[in-house]
């Protein structure tokens, strides 16, 4: 890890009546970091804060919030528009809702390009074709509308849109949650492949710990807005924090067949304990 | 939503409060008109014609020497009577047709919806006009005509809501408990459609007040010499360039009444169908 692409220190996100992210700190270098937790843990909010997409009445505060050297706390709208989709890009969960229903694939990928690069229309067309092929799709998908795409194809289109400008950081917010099991690994492998090729860092957000552990270097576990555990993915089988253990072991497989699946005892105080590297 | 919660939320909307206050005032004025009006609205005093506002006639007099303030006060009666009449006809008709077609589906729905579409395409004011022209002027005819052309939107809305909820677990549970037929329709389905219908009604009434005033203006509303705001404007049109207040004041009353329903409707909508602004 030579440079830190993302530096987050004491991030707080407050909504009237609730603190959604509480005192979160982490860094991201040229690596793949998984942000894992259940619904309501604050992981999606963290991602939105890094893109400046936390809308009123939410309030973001931190002692440090840096992406690629840009101080996000002091950013003006115009600067945001410059780095979003360009230096840092985002992939959302469900392509059925995240893609514009009345524009075809070509137009949507093209928009990502024309917002940030000055290219002629034939150059743009070339780039669009390049990035569509890079995510494993054929050219014939270009004139199609989102309603005409399957879940997997739609997700690939979203990834293509994110990759169009060669960002240095990719934030993937539950990119596989809307897909069936077979596709999940395919999409994650695609993401990993693109990260390696483009030397791109990735922040992968998910609720499925075993799934993302295969594909990421490090894991950060969140619970009710706080970070409760952080460790290299390889150390996960030996995790000691009760919440992490439960997440890790709760997925049924051949070995757990016939046995009771572990449940979490939420009465114990899970927060405020942390393990591993800080 | 339980009623106490509903009213508390409603009171937080300044628009709704404003609207409700004005409507309440209107109802009081209409109810106590004989006590509030200083003069008989139809009594003509030829000597006091076309007077500007003065100490005896606070709003002046019209071209027949009738006190404008009294006519204004009494004019609230046909206005509110119309509102009541239209509500009583439109809401039940629209909801009934909408609920029946949404619940039973099939050819019942197709026939009813086709009928609804046809009535919906008709020009409201023009048909009211033709109705009244053919069947004779009068408040009831006008209200009837307006109501008969307004119910389709309610039917449409109720039907689409029921279609959404038709296969919901909520209704399935009720049916499994043995509730069906009329009890299901009235006790379970109706409360689901009612909120949005009431919002629509409040907003529609604003427009209906204007339409009725238009009919009165054209001489198709309440029969003269009955005091009706639209007709009063027509009276004032003759002398608009000199005694402009005779036409201006009743119009302001219409404006305020319509505004009240618009505000109430906006407030109701914010409470019953909240959207993130």
């Amino acid at each position: 890890m030579t440079e830190s692409r993302i530096v987050v220190s004491d991030l707080n996100i407050d909504y009237p009546g609730a603190r959604v992210v509480d005192n979160l700190s982490f860094t991201l270098g040229n690596e793949r970091l998984a942000l894992v937790g259940e619904s309501g843990s604050g992981k999606s909010m963290t991602a939105r804060a890094l893109m400046g997409l936390v809308r009123k009445p939410g309030k973001v505060s931190a002692s440090q919030l840096n992406v690629l050297g840009h101080d996000l706390l002091a950013m003006k709208t115009r600067n945001w528009q410059q780095i979003r989709g360009n230096d840092i890009a985002m992939v959302l969960q469900d392509p059925r809702y995240a893609l514009n229903p009345v524009k075809n694939v070509a137009q949507q990928v093209d928009e990502a390009l024309s917002l940030h690069q000055k290219l002629s229309s034939s150059q743009r067309r070339e780039r669009v074709r390049e990035v569509i092929n890079a995510v494993g799709l054929q050219d014939n998908v270009l004139p199609r509308y989102p309603a005409e795409l399957s879940g997997g194809m739609g997700q690939r289109v979203m990834i293509a849109i994110a990759l169009a400008n060669n960002p240095k950081v990719l934030i993937a917010d539950e990119p596989t949650s809307a897909l069936d099991a077979r596709l999940r690994n395919q999409i994650l492998e695609l993401l990993v492949e693109q990260c390696e090729q483009r030397q791109m860092a990735m922040l992968l957000i998910s609720h499925d710990l075993p799934l993302v552990a295969e594909h990421c270097h490090r894991v950060l576990v969140m619970y009710q807005g706080q970070k409760v555990d952080e460790m290299p993915a390889a150390s996960l089988p030996g995790a000691t924090h009760p919440y992490t253990r439960t997440l890790w072991t709760c997925r049924p497989n051949a070995e757990t067949y016939g046995t009771m699946l572990p449940t979490l005892d939420r009465t114990q105080n899970l927060k405020g304990e942390s393990n591993g590297n800080r | 939503m339980p009623s106490y919660l509903f009213f508390r939320r409603l009171l937080r909307s300044p628009a709704a409060v404003c609207g409700m206050v004005i409507i309440a005032l209107l109802m009081l004025v209409a109810l106590f008109a004989p006590l509030l009006a200083p003069f008989d609205p139809n009594w003509q005093d030829a000597a006091a014609r076309l007077q500007p506002p003065n100490s005896q006639h606070w709003l002046g007099t019209d071209s027949y020497g009738r006190d404008l303030l009294s006519r204004l006060i009494y004019g609230s009666r046909p206005a509110l009577g119309l509102v009541l009449l239209v509500t009583v006809i439109t809401l039940p008709t629209g909801l009934l047709i909408g609920i029946l077609s949404g619940y039973y589906g099939g050819w019942v729905e197709r026939v009813l919806m086709r009928f609804t579409d046809i009535v919906m395409s008709m020009p409201r004011l023009i048909l009211a006009f033709a109705f009244v022209a053919m069947l004779g002027p009068g408040l009831v005819n006008g209200a009837l005509a307006l109501a008969l052309t307004t119910w389709p939107a309610y039917a449409r809305q109720a039907r689409s809501e029921i279609q959404r909820l038709r296969h919901s677990d909520y209704l399935a549970a009720a049916e499994m408990s043995g509730i069906r037929g009329r009890r299901l329709l009235v006790g379970h389905i109706l409360p689901l459609c009612l909120p949005s219908s009431i919002v629509r009604l409040a907003l529609d009434l604003a427009g209906i007040i204007l339409a009725a005033a238009g009919l009165g203006f054209l001489g198709l509303g309440a029969r003269p010499p009955m005091a009706e705001w639209g007709a009063m404007i027509a009276d004032g049109m003759q002398v608009i360039f000199d005694q402009w207040w005779i036409a201006a004041i009743p119009g302001a009353a219409i404006l305020i009444s319509s505004l009240a329903f618009n505000l109430l409707g906006d407030g109701l909508r914010d409470v019953l169908e909240p959207s993130n602004d």
């Binding site: 997409l53 | 046809i118 053919m134 054209l218 608009i240 959207s275």
Partner: protein, 347 residues
Amino acid sequence: MSFITSTLHHLRRPLFTLVTGLFTLALTLMGLLIITFALSAFSPVDPVLQIVGDHASQATYDQVHQQLGLDKPLPLQFWHYLTQLAQGDLGTASATGQPVLHDLLSAFPATLELATLALIIGSVLGITFGVLCARFVGSPWDLAVRTFTLLGNSVPIFWLGLLMLAFFYAYLQWSAGPGRLDDIYQYTVESKTGFVLIDTWLSGDRGAFLNAINHLMLPMLLLAYYSLASITRLTRTACLSEMNKEYITLARAKGAGDMAILIRHVLPNIRGTLFTVIALSYTSMLEGAVLTETVFSWPGIGRYLTTALFAADTAAIMGGTLLIGVSFVIINNLTDILVRITDPRVR
């Protein structure tokens, strides 16, 4: 797929939509005809008396009664009514003595011109204001526009017209008075199309043209305000509810600015709603014309209807109602068809 089969395949759905839409249109028109027929059939006004007058003998009365076919059963009378309509015979206006169709054709362009111009102004301004309000939601501008449009929805249009006339014409003497043209031009300009702007332009008389514009100002702005009020509100609401959707978040994540998002993403998606709103507004204009024309002495359908009303001219009233009703139905149904054809989501 070859080009031909591909085209046919793509045309299949729009064609189907068109056919079903036209069928609904036909059905609705039939319903309208039944209603207008029923109104004149069941009206207490006696059409025979209208023609023969009060002092005719019983024999004359009977003769005219038979001539009008009033002794035949109702369904036959309805058929008679339909065939007459198909030939363009809407009866004779008792007030003018002319065929009703002729009267309507000379009066309709005036209303059409007014309503169309008002709609163009109202919808262009309305959509612009609605988008701006959505962009700057919560700002003083937003509040001001919302108040302005709220008033527009609550004000009786004929009253406002009356006041405007009194203020701008009588008091300030800025605008021209009632009517479409000043008296001097009334007889010098030849009425070729019925549209005063076109006719005065064609006549080459610049003064007449400017005068026509002057006369159009007040009623046009009045109706435009009316349509602006509802179009702005509905555009704003549609934009705001669309902006909550996921694909807008993604567009923001791509780096698109707020205004670009509204114009390039939101507007195309609410296109259908906007078409419907504009069509609705167009029909309101036609209705509003009935009231406004009385105030401005505008020689259109509205004034024709009101004069027919006071002359108890049933044929004219029914003819006028039918014309406006048919316009309504056509506008509504065509818009419905248009919306469904242009929505790529329905592919």
